[in-house]
C-alpha cells in the first residue's frame, strides 16, 4: 500500500524532471536530458501500475481513496486542502495519461533530436505531465482548476515552442486567450458551486447534490447554471463549438506535442471534468442536453471541415475536435462510461495518428502538405501499418478500438435513457465522414504515385525510438476496445463494469431519469420520439459500420480509382467546396464580429482616449501645473539681497501684527 499512501510521488516525479531539465538541462548532453525526461515519466508510469495493483485490493467502502496533505487556502468558511483522491475514473485517466506521456517522451527523444531547445522541450513536457496528473488526482474543484490552468500554460508554451516563428507565437496566444474565455465561465462556476454547497470538495459536494431533486429541464435551476458554466470551461479546453478555433492553429507546435496535449490528454480534460461532476450534471437535464447537442454538432461539423484539409496535421486536428464531440455526446446522453471509454481509445489511436503523421513529416523532411506526398507505403512500412491500424480504429471498423467506444456512444444517443434522435443522426453521419477523411488521408499519403521530387527528398523510415511507440500504440488501437466486446452480445462490458461504482454513486435513481427524459422540454422540442422508435434505431447498431465502409469506399473511389472524380466533384460543387475549404470562414467571421471591433475599441477608445487622453492626461497635467506654478514662483529668487531683506521685514511685520491681533482677541 506504499504508493496508495504516498500518492504525491506520482505527481512529484515529473515535476522534479521538469525542474532539473528546465534549470540545469541546457548545459547537459542530450542523453542526460532525455534520460531524466523519459525516466521521470517512466517511473511515474510504474508507480501508477503499482497503484492499480494496490487499488484493486481496496474494499468497496474505501473508494474513493482520499489523501489530504495540507491546508492550502483558508479564509473563513472557504477551505481548500491540497488533497488527492483515487477512484476508478482516476485510475483510468492516470493509466492513459502516464502511458501515452511515456510513449510520447520516448518518441520525442528521436523526433526532436535535431532541434534546438532540447532540454526546454523536455522540461515543458514533464511539467505538462505534472499538471495533468494534478488535474486528474485532485480531490476538489480548486486544485483541479490548478491543474486545468497548468496544462493550459504548458500547451501555450509548447505550441509556441518555436517562438521565433511568428505564426507559432500567435497560435500559442490564440490557444491561451480562446481557452481563457471558457475558463471565465469555469471560474464563475466554481464560485457558484461554493456558494451553493459551501464546499468545493468533491465528496462533500456530491453528498449534498445527491439529496437535491432533478431540476426541471425547462428552467435554469442552480445546478443547471453551475453545470452550464463549468461546461463553458470544457468548451474552451476541449475545443468545442464555438471555441474550437484554437486547436487547428495549435498544430504549429512540434508534432509530439500535438499528439500528447492536443489529442490524447489535455483536450480531454473537459470530458473528464464533466464525467467527474456527473452527480451535478445528472440532475441538470437542460445542461445535459446542451452538452450532448454541442458534442454532436461539433462531431459533425468538424468532420466536414476535415474532409477538405490538405495539411496532414490539420486533418487530424479537426478529427480531434470531432472525436471530442463524440465524447461529449456520450456524456450528454448519460453514458459517461462510454464517453470515458472513447477518451481512452481515442488517446491511443489519435496519439498514434499524430505520432505517425510526425514520422511521415520526419520522413519527408518537413513536408506537411498531403498534395506533395503519395506512394509512401513501401518506403516507410512501419509508419504505414501503424497509421493504418489507427485509421481503422478511428473509422470504427469492427474489431478495432474505436468501433467499440463509438458504437457505445451512438448506442446511448440512439436508445439510452436520454436518447436524442437528432443528435444520434448527426453523430452517425459524422462517423461516416470521419471514415472518409481518414482514408482520404491514408490514400493521399501512402498510395498512388509520388508527387514530390524523388531526387531531392530522401524518404527514410524513422529511428527505433520513434517506431517503437508507434507499434505499442498500434497494439492498443487494435486491442484497446476488447474490454467492451461482451457488450456486442448483450452483456455489460468490463470497462463499464469497472467504472460502474463511480457513476452509480450519487447518481439519480433510474425511475426519475426515465421520467425526466420523457418530460424533458428541450428534448421534446428537438423531436424525441416515443420509445418504440428508439428500439428501431437500436436495432440498427450496424449502421455506423455500414457508413464507415461507405466512407472508405468513397475515399477509395475519389482518391485511388477515379482521381478525376474528385476534381469534377470540386468543379460541380464549387460554392460548397470554397465554403468548406475555407473552414466556413469561421475565423474570418470571428475576426469581423469580435476581434476587429475589439481591436478597434481598444485602439481608438481604450488606447487613444482612455490611456493617452485620460490617464496620461491626468499624470502629465499634474506635472504641467506644478511646472507652471514653479515657473511663476521662482521669480521671487531675484538675486537682489535688498529684496530679500524687504521680504524678511514684511514677514516679520506681518507676524508681529498677527501676534498682536491674537493677543487682542484674547
Amino acid at each position: 500500500m506504499f504508493i496508495l499512501h504516498h500518492l504525491w510521488i506520482i505527481l512529484l516525479l515529473p515535476l522534479i524532471g521538469a525542474a532539473l531539465n528546465g534549470l540545469l538541462g541546457a548545459k547537459w548532453p542530450k542523453v542526460a536530458v532525455n534520460s531524466i525526461g523519459i525516466g521521470s515519466v517512466g517511473l511515474s508510469f510504474l508507480c501508477v501500475l503499482e497503484l492499480i495493483r494496490e487499488f484493486l485490493q481496496l474494499g468497496a467502502t474505501q473508494v474513493p481513496y482520499f489523501e489530504r496533505y495540507f491546508n492550502w487556502i483558508s479564509a473563513g468558511i472557504f477551505n481548500v486542502d491540497f488533497a488527492l483522491q483515487v477512484d476508478q475514473l482516476t485510475i483510468i485517466m492516470l493509466l492513459v495519461v502516464t502511458f501515452v506521456s511515456l510513449l510520447v517522451h520516448i518518441y520525442s527523444s528521436g523526433y526532436m533530436a535535431h532541434e534546438g531547445g532540447y532540454a526546454r522541450f523536455f522540461s515543458y513536457l514533464n511539467l505538462f505531465v505534472f499538471f495533468m496528473l494534478t488535474l486528474v488526482l485532485a480531490a476538489n474543484l480548486v486544485l483541479m482548476f490548478v491543474g486545468w490552468e497548468g496544462v493550459g500554460l504548458c500547451s501555450y508554451l509548447l505550441i509556441g515552442f518555436w517562438f521565433l516563428k511568428d505564426s507559432a507565437a500567435s497560435a500559442g496566444k490564440k490557444a491561451f486567450i480562446t481557452t481563457r474565455i471558457g475558463d471565465f465561465g469555469f471560474t464563475i462556476g466554481i464560485l457558484l458551486t461554493f456558494w451553493t454547497f459551501r464546499s468545493i470538495d468533491f465528496g462533500t459536494m456530491f453528498q449534498q447534490a445527491s439529496t437535491m431533486p432533478v431540476e426541471s429541464a425547462a428552467g435554469f435551476g442552480t445546478l443547471t447554471v453551475i453545470c452550464l458554466l463549468l461546461f463553458a470551461g470544457a468548451i474552451g479546453k476541449s475545443a468545442q463549438i464555438p471555441l474550437y478555433v484554437w486547436l487547428p492553429d495549435a498544430m504549429e507546435g512540434p508534432t509530439p506535442v500535438s499528439a500528447l496535449i492536443h489529442a490524447a490528454t489535455m483536450v480531454t480534460a473537459g470530458v473528464y471534468m464533466v464525467a467527474r461532476m456527473h452527480p451535478l450534471f445528472s440532475r441538470a437535464p437542460l445542461a445535459m442536453y446542451f452538452v450532448a447537442a454541442v458534442g454532436a454538432a461539433t462531431a459533425f461539423y468538424a468532420a466536414t471541415i476535415g474532409v477538405l484539409q490538405t495539411d496532414i496535421k490539420k486533418v487530424l486536428a479537426y478529427s480531434t475536435v470531432s472525436q471530442l464531440g463524440y465524447m461529449f455526446l456520450g456524456c450528454g446522453v448519460g453514458a459517461y462510461a462510454a464517453g470515458i471509454f472513447h477518451l481512452m481509445t481515442h488517446a491511443f489511436f489519435k496519439g498514434l495518428l499524430f505520432l505517425a503523421a510526425g514520422s511521415v513529416i520526419h520522413a519527408m523532411g518537413g513536408e506537411q502538405d498531403m498534395r506533395n506526398m503519395g506512394g509512401l507505403r513501401k518506403k516507410i512500412p512501419i509508419t504505414y501499418w501503424t497509421m493504418l491500424a489507427a485509421t481503422l480504429a478511428i473509422a470504427g471498423i469492427p474489431g478495432f478500438a474505436g468501433f467499440f467506444s463509438k458504437d457505445e456512444i451512438l448506442d446511448a444517443a440512439g436508445g439510452g435513457p436520454h436518447a436524442a434522435p437528432v443528435l444520434y443522426w448527426l453523430g452517425l453521419v459524422g462517423a461516416g465522414i470521419t471514415s472518409f477523411y481518414m482514408f482520404r488521408l491514408i490514400f493521399l499519403t501512402f498510395f498512388g504515385q509520388p508527387r514530390y521530387d524523388e531526387h531531392k527528398v530522401h524518404v527514410h523510415e524513422s529511428p527505433s525510438n520513434m517506431t517503437i511507440p508507434l507499434i505499442l500504440l498500434a497494439i492498443c488501437s487494435v486491442a484497446g476496445g476488447w474490454f467492451a466486446a461482451p457488450h456486442l452480445v448483450g452483456g455489460s462490458d468490463y470497462f463499464e463494469a469497472f467504472l460502474h461504482p463511480v457513476f452509480a454513486s450519487y447518481g439519480v435513481p433510474a425511475a426519475i431519469t426515465q421520467q425526466e427524459s420523457l418530460a424533458g422540454a428541450p428534448g421534446a422540442a428537438a423531436g424525441i420520439a416515443p420509445n418504440h422508435a428508439m428500439e428501431l434505431l437500436h436495432a440498427l447498431t450496424g449502421l455506423p459500420v455500414i457508413l464507415a465502409v461507405i466512407g472508405l469506399f468513397l475515399a477509395w473511389w475519389f482518391y485511388i480509382y477515379k482521381p478525376d472524380a474528385a476534381r469534377r466533384a470540386k468543379e460541380s460543387l464549387r460554392g460548397l467546396y470554397t465554403l468548406v475549404y475555407n473552414k466556413y470562414y469561421i475565423d474570418e467571421i470571428y475576426a469581423a464580429l469580435i476581434i476587429n471591433p475589439l481591436l478597434w475599441i481598444s485602439t481608438n477608445v481604450l488606447w487613444h482616449v482612455v490611456d493617452e487622453k485620460m490617464i496620461d492626461g491626468a499624470v502629465n497635467g499634474t506635472a504641467h501645473v506644478a511646472r507652471e506654478l514653479g515657473g511663476e514662483v521662482r521669480e521671487i529668487q531675484s538675486g537682489n539681497a535688498r529684496t530679500y531683506a524687504t521680504w524678511v521685514v514684511v514677514g516679520a511685520v506681518g507676524f508681529t501684527v498677527l501676534l498682536i491681533a491674537v493677543w487682542m482677541v484674547r
Binding site: 529668487q637 538675486g639 537682489n640 539681497a641 535688498r642 521685514v649
Partner: protein, 100 residues
C-alpha cells in the same frame, strides 16, 4: 530708576532705523553698519530685560551676540573686499548672480 519701557522704545527706534537703512541703502558697507545697528538695538533690549528682572541670562545672550557680530564683521568685510576688487563697485545691486 528709568522704566524699562524707555529702553525698549529706544531699542525699537534703533532697530527700525537699522531696518530702514538696510532696506533702502545700496552701499554694502552701509548695509553692514545697518546690521550692526540692529544687533545692538537687540543687545540694548536684552540688557534692559536682564537688569529689570535681575537675571544674568540676558547679559550672556549679549556676549554671544557681540561675538557673532565680531565674527560676522570679519567674514563680511573680507567678502566686501573681494567683491570690491572683482567688481570695482560696492553697490549691492551689482551682486545678483545667485538667482533663478
Amino acid at each position: 530708576m528709568v522704566p524699562i519701557s524707555y529702553y525698549l522704545v529706544l531699542s525699537g527706534i534703533l532697530f527700525g532705523l537699522g531696518v530702514i537703512a538696510f532696506t533702502f541703502k545700496r552701499n554694502i558697507i552701509t548695509l553692514f553698519m545697518a546690521i550692526e545697528l540692529m544687533l545692538n538695538a537687540v543687545n540694548l533690549a536684552l540688557v534692559a530685560f536682564a537688569r529689570a528682572w535681575n537675571q544674568l541670562d540676558g547679559l550672556v545672550f549679549v556676549f554671544f551676540v557681540i561675538v557673532v557680530a565680531a565674527a560676522e564683521a570679519a567674514v563680511g568685510l573680507a567678502i566686501v573686499i573681494t567683491i570690491s576688487q572683482n567688481r570695482r563697485s560696492l553697490n549691492v545691486e551689482d551682486v545678483n548672480l545667485l538667482k533663478f
